[in-house]
Amino acid sequence: MTAKTIPCFYRLYSALLLLYPARFRVRFGEEMQQVFQDCCEMELQRDSIIGLCRVWLRTLTDFSGSLGREWRRELVLIEPEIDYTGLADSFMVTVVVGTILLGWGWVAAAIVLNITIPHIFEYYASLATILAVVVTISMAALIGIISALIVSRSGRPERNRIRV
């Protein structure tokens, strides 16, 4: 094991730590790096390549398990710093406004085309199609509004920690 390889290991582990949620990484990242470094140094003192591989294997196994746990905790079990209700509201509003603008824009374009180019309506859209579009837009808007109302009234999940 060369002197250059070991700092590479540390850098690789530091890069892996970036995958943890920011809150966890900021609080424990440096300590985790220190612990990993200590484990590697212990094996280096023993001059054991197999030991070093075992440290990596154990660390990666632990990493894959704890990564999911920490993200789950961050997103579900503790009050997130992101206001998901507000985010959902904004999303719904965007969907509703977007649908209305797109839909009515399409209807307006069809009407303008019909006025400027006579008989084009027969080829591109019939009255029934326009009616279907209007109904679809209205339904989408209605669903959006109802969803936004439900989301804004449901509140956030209970603060409930997993067992330590």
């Binding site: 943890y20 966890f24 609080r27 424990f28 440096e30 300590e31 985790m32 790096q33 220190q34 612990v35 990993f36 200590d38 484990c39 154990r58 660390t59 196994t61 632990d62 990493f63 398990g65 704890s66 990564l67 746990r69 920490e70 905790r73 009050e79 997130p80 710093e81 992101i82 206001d83 956030r156 920690r161 997993i162 067992r163 330590v164």
Partner: protein
């Protein structure tokens, strides 16, 4: 943006039971004295004869939850500051942590007692003794 509430009041010790083996071993290690992450990791592996091996992610995940639940706390003093890496933080058991550890030990004792009292189990030897 949501605001984070102030520190919640500590819960009753019995609400933490049963403890996971990792958490039990961490508390047990800290019952012996203040320790940093690596020392805890080494001690847990030694104490459990290698059965419980904590990786950094699991160790600090558990430490994070124990800190939130006020079962352990970070301590400012370092045994040998000049010999120590500044990235290392030391942790100590709180009174609540000690109570939880004592309660869990009692719970495990009663479990072992119940198992020993069972006639069928008394006749069965562990595989390594056979």
């Amino acid at each position: 943006m949501g605001t984070r509430p102030s520190k919640p009041a500590p819960k009753a010790p019995e609400t933490f039971l049963p403890l996971t083996p990792a958490v039990f071993h961490i508390l047990l290690t800290l019952a012996d004295g203040d320790a940093h992450g690596y020392a805890i990791m080494q001690d847990v592996a030694r104490r459990s004869a290698g059965v419980v091996r904590l990786g950094p992610g699991t160790l600090y995940g558990a430490i994070g939850r124990l800190l939130e639940d006020m079962l352990i706390e970070e301590c400012d003093e370092r045994p040998v500051p000049e010999m120590d890496d500044t990235r290392r933080r030391y942790y100590r058991l709180t009174q609540l942590g000690g109570e939880v550890l004592a309660l869990e030990t009692k719970r495990l004792e009663s479990l072992v007692r119940a198992v020993r009292a069972c006639k069928v189990i008394r006749g069965i030897k562990p595989a390594e003794e056979r």
